[in-house]
């Protein structure tokens, strides 16, 4: 329904997308981690420019205006009303402009982070002191024990977005995927979510990012991205084994 409305409103953009969707064709899925990295470079550049301007002025003045004889006093001109206001209002607007620039850029990527693609595979994740449990749609579930490192961890097929619905059985934990540039806390009594796009086959890790006591440092799990074929075999094996 929502799709239909947007297709009407944005005939140019919405209609083809709606059609493609209806036909079950692949929709382009964003890669939030790549967007994050891109934004990080923009932000660094922004900070670098501000930092250099201030640091250069500061260091230059510290050097240039050092006292040359004892008892010397400063010669700063008295600011008249207009320049006093100017020196407040102009920088305030410059800072505000930069704030809105960063906020807008940040919001764009943030929307990518929160809009879960509709073809995403859902996995329920439960954190406990100290283990991780992953539950797939088809009844398959795996556990990763923090102490023994036993278990498969999170296994996902490559190229398919994954949405994690997360909670905790005891204290606050946090599912942090450094390589996917994302984390979200897991806590008792609430379900939170995050999604990521496993674009490459390989093994990486998720690690707990919210203090949870004695084994907090050890509270990590493997995250394996495998080919669709390997994934299907793995699921089949799990189903038999379970």
């Amino acid at each position: 329904m929502k799709r239909a409305v947007s297709a009407l409103v944005l005939t140019g953009l919405g209609l083809p997308a709606a059609l493609a969707d209806a036909a079950g064709a692949k929709v382009a899925v964003p890669d939030p981690a790549a967007s994050w990295n891109h934004l990080w470079h923009d932000v660094l550049l922004d900070l670098f420019i501000i930092g250099i301007i201030f640091l250069a002025a500061g260091l230059y003045w510290v050097w240039k205006y050092r006292a040359t004889r004892p008892g010397q006093i400063g010669t700063a001109p008295k600011l008249d009303k207009i320049s006093a206001i100017g020196f407040a209002v102009v920088p305030a607007f410059l800072f505000m402009a930069d704030d809105f620039y960063l906020a807008a850029k940040g919001w764009t990527v943030w929307n990518e982070y929160r809009d879960v693609p509709r073809n995403a595979m859902e996995v329920k994740v439960t954190g406990s002191m100290w283990s991780w449990n992953f539950e797939y749609d088809n009844g398959v579930s795996t556990t990763f024990m923090v102490d023994t490192k036993e278990g498969d961890g999170l296994v996902v097929p490559v190229g398919k977005p994954v949405v994690l619905r997360m909670t905790s059985t005891d204290v606050v934990h946090s599912f942090f995927l450094p390589d996917y540039r994302v984390k979200e806390d897991m806590m008792p009594g609430r379900v939170t979510y995050l999604w990521f796009n496993p674009v490459k086959v390989g093994e990486t890790l998720a690690t707990c990012a919210e203090f949870c006591g004695n084994r907090h440092s050890f509270m990590w799990t493997k995250v394996k991205v495998v080919s669709q074929a390997d994934f299907d075999t793995w699921i089949a094996k799990k189903k038999q084994g379970a």
Binding site: G51, A67, G74, G106, W107, S174, D179, P188, A209, N214
Partner: protein, 534 residues
């Protein structure tokens, strides 16, 4: 102190209601807290120098030992050192002198405040005595703080005592600033440090009760069986996080503002210049911070499952903090412009502060952006950020304050060579400690980890460098603090106004000032300012 000449009497210090002595009592307590918390920092850093147990007993009990050090380090640095060092020591000693008052408005309440603070320190110290040592971090999040075997009550009582002390002090100083200024002294003639305390104390008065309430609920849940934070019985774990940060974000301004205030005083005096665009810094900077300080706490909960619209709304308010902070920064830098700068120990710290403020402030910007912080939050990037701004910038402000007002307080001069050497070790050491943590933070090194074997092996190299830096800082701190102690006893006698300052505490009091502060009633005329060097 005129009393110093009549010899040292312990009872005179215990029953004192003189703001100057109370200030010194705050200083002693906060430096004691700093030193102990500093030793904890060294233990933490040695442990992190390599993956696997380094000094903890083994992989199973290691977490418990480490978490106690970390708890004590964080809680003591914030509650026991920075807040009492700035709004306790510096505000007590300097505010009445700067506004030309004989003492604070309620001297006995002031004495109560300092002893409540000391009681808080003693309760915090019980950490090392009780068998069930607290291990809940200075943030004390439930449900962990309710279910842990560690002692949560000690944490709660420390917060209660120090919080109560802060509330009393806030009322006392606000009344003092409002009603006890020297005749003729208008608001636009106040020292920047006075303004910075005025604004910081308003924040403190408004927000500390919220923290006290939050930890009290924690106490009830833990020991009386209530369920405020227990979802199984209709409670909510996020409630605590919201209450905690509703106080604890503003608390960073309670630290940041007086720290800036101190550097303004040092800059104006050492550059012999007026404050650049005073009103912009006071009204557009400090007062504006008071207004928005309570609207940004969600930036500590960007990945805690808060509603998306709140995370975005408070990203905007958080980013807008750059406006008042930016205006204050421009005033600080601008005060040097066309100045005539004398370099001595306080000004060394002042110059370093320019750089520290930039690094600490700018690295806060990605953390203010919701989507950036979803990766950088809870990593050692965050850890390095808040150390640059709180652990270094604000800490240096306390050290600079002691160095700058040392002649006034003790009547003696510091040993400049030792002071400068201490400065260089501190400055170089902190950079060596915290830059590596920015780098591995971006790569995903979480904070509050004592073991990190799951991460690439190069993390260990960065951690080793950071540990080396911490030891350099430790040597610098020993030199700095021992310089105070030795010079207070046998330093060279100080002239009345060694820096040629124009502020009342230097121009109108004896060195050190006697009881009642001013030999003659102070009045100022309309064009007096503490920064009028022409």
């Amino acid at each position: 102190m005129s009393t110093a000449s009549s010899g040292f009497k312990l009872s005179e210090w215990i029953f004192t209601t003189d703001h100057k002595r109370i200030g010194i009592l705050y200083l002693i307590g906060s430096i004691a807290a700093f030193s102990l918390a500093g030793i904890m920092a060294l233990l933490i850093r040695i442990e992190q120098a390599a993956p696997g147990p380094t000094i903890v007993s083994d992989a199973y009990t290691g977490g418990d030992q480490y978490n106690v050090w970390l708890y004590f380090h964080g809680a003591a640095m914030i509650l026991g050192f920075l807040i009492p060092g700035l709004t306790g020591f510096a505000a007590n000693y300097l505010l009445p002198l700067m506004i030309g008052a004989k003492d604070v408005a309620f001297p006995r309440i002031n004495a109560l405040s300092v002893w409540l603070f000391w009681a808080g320190i003693v309760v915090a110290l019980l950490t090392f005595v009780v068998p069930d040592k607290p291990d809940i971090m200075w943030t004390g999040y439930p449900p962990y703080s309710i279910t842990t075997a560690g002692n949560t009550a000690l944490y709660v009582f420390t917060v209660h005592l120090i919080g109560f002390s802060s509330i009393l002090a806030s009322v006392n100083f606000l009344v003092t600033i409002i009603y006890m200024r020297a005749p003729g002294m208008g608001w636009n003639q106040l020292n920047m440090f006075v303004w910075s305390c005025f604004t910081a104390l308003i924040i403190q008065l408004v927000f500390v009760p919220v923290l006290a309430a939050a930890v009290t609920l924690l106490l009830f849940d833990r020991y009386l069986g209530t369920h405020f934070f227990d979802p199984a019985n209709g409670g909510d774990v996020l409630l605590y996080q919201n209450l905690f940060w509703f106080y604890s974000h503003p608390a960073v301004y309670v630290i940041f503002l007086p720290a800036m205030g101190i550097f303004y005083e040092i800059f104006a005096t050492m550059a012999k210049n007026p404050i650049f665009n005073y009103k912009a810094a006071v009204y557009g900077g400090m007062c504006f911070i008071v207004l928005i300080s309570g609207e940004v706490w969600v930036h500590h909960l960007y990945y805690s499952g808060m509603p998306d619209w709140l995370r975005i709304g408070q990203m905007v308010t958080t980013l807008l903090i750059s406006i008042p902070v930016g205006l204050m920064t421009i005033s600080l830098f601008g005060t040097l412009y066309k100045g005539s700068i004398t370099f001595n120990i306080p000004m060394y710290y002042g110059t370093a502060a320019l750089y520290l403020l930039l690094i600490g402030g700018l690295t806060g910007i990605p953390l203010a952006m919701t989507v950036m912080s979803v990766h950088l939050g809870e990593t050692s990037f965050t850890h390095a950020h808040f150390h640059f701004i709180m652990g270094i910038f604000a800490t240096f402000s306390v050290f600079a304050a002691v160095d700058f007002w040392f002649p006034k307080i003790s009547g003696r001069m510091l040993n400049p060579a030792q002071g400068k050497l201490g400065f260089w070790l501190n400055f170089i050491g902190v950079n060596i400690t915290f830059w590596p943590l920015f780098i591995i933070g971006v790569e995903g090194m979480p904070r509050r980890y004592w073991d990190y074997s799951q991460f690439p092996s190069h993390f260990a190299h960065y951690h080793k460098v950071a540990t080396l830096g911490a030891f350099i800082v430790a040597i610098g701190m020993v030199l700095t603090i021992s310089n105070w102690i030795i010079s207070a006893i046998k330093g060279e006698k100080a002239p009345d106004n060694p820096w040629g300052s124009n502020s009342l505490e230097w121009t109108h009091t004896a060195t050190p000032p006697g009881p009642g502060n001013f030999p003659k009633e102070v009045t100022v005329d309309a064009d007096w300012t503490p920064y009028n060097y022409k």
